[in-house]
């Protein structure tokens, strides 16, 4: 069975996703346990794949027994299996966290929610493991549709925000498909490795330039790169707390991963890629500044975290666009760190909303007295987002700044350091309100404001601990995993 691990990463969540609505007609408990089992299965397969690819190199799996380039293949290397491991690990934690929310719903609704969540995972895991351009589009749309349905299932404002996200996300996917169409017209194949092999013959033609631009723009819109980030703040701010932890931690990152894969591993020798990366780096720098500045002005903590996400995506994109070894290590490390930090913060914000019913910063006053563990996790995550040692955030920013210095991009160095100062402003405000302000004194509020239930608290604390552990052991992670995830050749 382990010989089929690459395809099982995707098929287990898919098969269980269509099984869960049937099971939830019978019993809700079984359905939720099935979800956890499916995600555990996917995570195990990803771990097996990671261990194997670290020792023996890329793993090619041919679907249907057809040889590439005639058939679709799944390609696993340390980068994709690492991403798959990250996605499934965060998914398990969020599935545990969502338990208390789901118990309050009707069995049919929670069954459909679990099914959509597993479909979202299928789409994201598929995007990460596939080695075929059109297959990437299919999984991109699967994950997007599941995300639209999940994000819209909250309040009515969530539905309006999600409709805008739907329109913009479909534009992005259509642009990506158009780019793939041009690539197919030029090279005659959809297999990523085959396109890389046929690249030299077509790399200078203008359809190729159009293809690269369309693919880059499409994936950048999904990754919420400035100036195409407009859908993200509304979609994240109004999203139901059950899924926002997962979507904010993982979704935009997978699009950045896809862009990284296409530009660095496949299309790298072409000249247009250099120019695209330059444009992306400037857009990323503006995104960092814009995200941090806009986050300072927010009163709602979820909207603040959403704008902060725009800035953080800018960090990752800047690291990829700079291209030096240190910058790439910083970008990959920041993908890992940000998933954990932002997941922890959104889960904690959802927990506060669960207890107090509001996410406004004014209602955070003195909440540390009632929810000490949650706020401790928020403090750790906030310090990591600002980038102070020994938390994980410091090390990824260190590598990014080192990478920027290596190419003498002093503007980017200034942007990186300046935005850390800005994030200090808005995160310290949260900590100040939570710890130093006096709580509102009314008897009813004191009864409702207790610590979160264990099912919700445990993932938050686990993520906060991982932030500290990743910070302390970042050298081990880099030397054992991340450095093998870099594209070979040319540094």
């Amino acid at each position: 069975m382990t010989a089929h691990a690459p395809v099982l990463i995707v098929v287990i969540p898919l098969a269980i996703a269509v099984l869960v609505p049937l099971v939830s007609l019978r019993s809700d408990q079984w359905a939720r346990s099935l979800v956890l089992l499916a995600l555990l299965g996917a995570m195990t397969c990803a771990a097996i794949a990671l261990a194997q690819t670290l020792s023996t190199g890329p793993w090619h799996y041919h679907l249907g027994g057809w040889e590439p380039p005639w058939g679709i293949e799944y390609v696993l290397d340390p980068l994709s299996s690492g991403m798959a491991l990250l996605i499934s690990a965060v998914a398990i934690l969020v599935a545990i966290y969502a338990g208390p929310h789901l118990s309050g719903w009707a069995a049919s609704r929670s069954g459909l929610f679990s099914s959509l969540f597993l479909l979202l995972n299928t789409g994201l895991l598929g995007m990460v493991v596939t080695g075929d351009f059109f297959n990437l589009y299919v999984f991109l749309e699967i994950s997007s549709l599941a995300a639209y349905a999940l994000l819209a299932s909250g309040t009515i404002q969530a539905t309006v925000a999600t409709f805008r996200y739907l329109i913009i996300g479909t534009i992005a996917a259509t642009f990506y498909l158009l780019g793939v169409g041009y690539l197919y017209a030029l090279t005659g194949t959809l297999n990523m490795a085959d396109v890389a092999a046929r690249l030299p013959a077509v790399a200078d033609s203008s359809p190729f330039i159009v293809a690269v631009i369309f693919i880059a723009v499409g994936l950048s819109i999904k990754a919420a790169l400035f100036p195409m980030h407009g859908w993200l703040p509304d979609a994240y701010a109004y999203a139901p707390p059950t899924v926002i932890g997962f979507i904010s931690a993982v979704m935009a990152k997978v699009s950045v991963y896809a862009l990284f894969r296409v530009l660095y591993f496949i299309l790298r020798p072409a000249e247009i890629v250099e120019q695209t990366l330059t444009v992306l780096s400037w857009a990323a720098a503006i995104a960092i500044l814009a995200g941090s500045l806009l986050a300072v002005a927010q009163r709602d903590i979820r909207r603040m975290l959403a704008y902060s996400s725009v800035g953080q995506m800018g960090y990752i994109m800047l690291g990829f666009a700079l291209g030096t070894r240190a910058a790439l290590i910083g970008a990959l490390l920041h993908m890992l760190n940000h998933a954990i930090m932002k997941g922890c913060l959104f889960l904690a914000a959802g927990g506060v909303q669960w207890r107090t019913g509001s996410c406004n910063l004014d209602d955070f006053a003195g909440i540390s007295r009632h929810m000490p563990l949650t706020m401790a996790a928020v403090v750790v995550a906030a310090i990591s987002m600002i980038g102070l040692p020994p938390t994980a955030g410091f090390f990824s920013k260190w590598y990014l700044v080192t990478g920027a210095i290596q190419v003498h991009a002093w503007v980017f160095v200034a942007v990186l350091i300046g935005s850390s100062l800005l994030s200090a402003v808005y995160f310290f405000r949260v900590i100040e309100w939570a710890y130093l302000r006096a709580p509102e004194c009314s008897a009813t509020s004191a009864i409702r404001h207790q610590e979160l239930p264990v099912q919700m608290l445990m993932p938050i604390l686990l993520l906060a601990t991982s932030i500290l552990l990743l910070g302390l052991f970042n050298q081990t992670v880099i030397s054992h995993v991340i450095q093998y995830a870099l594209p070979q050749g040319g540094f």
Partner: protein
């Protein structure tokens, strides 16, 4: 949805055409391998049958397929698809490798039978989903769909 029509003409036309539409849908599904057609198209035509009857005779309880039934049909169809894919693991093939099934047929026909099973699964899925979409879009204001209060 209030019945907009309700005449005998529509009723009879519907009764006469539905069996032929179902037959055509099955024809399209089965002949997908050798001519234009296949699971998606046949499933859509089959769903059109259910939608036609819903549009003409809403006074009858949902003919053939209520919401739970449509959901079960869609899920079973997709389970058939992934089941056939996973079945090839038992015969030491890759996922969706139809060539390894030990059927007493020649090589091309074995792959055809595998594809045929997949197409049936896909058509069941598409039928169930399209009927669900139609029902969801045309139902009256139901209680469990009240949007939450805006925050």
């Amino acid at each position: 949805m209030k019945p907009l029509f309700g005449s005998v003409v529509l009723d009879v036309a519907c009764r006469l055409s539905v069996p032929f539409i179902i037959l055509f849908a099955i024809y399209v599904i089965v002949h997908g391998h050798d001519s234009p057609g296949g699971g998606f198209q046949g499933g859509t035509i089959l769903a059109a049958t259910f939608i036609l009857i819903r549009m003409i005779r809403q006074d009858v309880k949902p003919w053939g397929l209520d919401r739970t039934g449509a959901l079960v049909l869609a899920c079973c169809g997709l389970l058939l698809y992934t089941g056939i894919g996973l079945l090839s693991f038992l015969f030491a093939g890759n996922y969706l490798d139809y060539g390894v099934f030990p059927l007493p047929l020649e090589a091309g026909k074995i792959r055809f039978m595998g594809s045929f099973g997949i197409e049936i699964g896909v058509s069941m899925g598409v039928t169930g989903v399209l009927v669900l979409i139609f029902d969801a879009l045309t139902e009256e204001d139901s209680q469990d769909d009240k949007p939450g209060e805006p925050t």
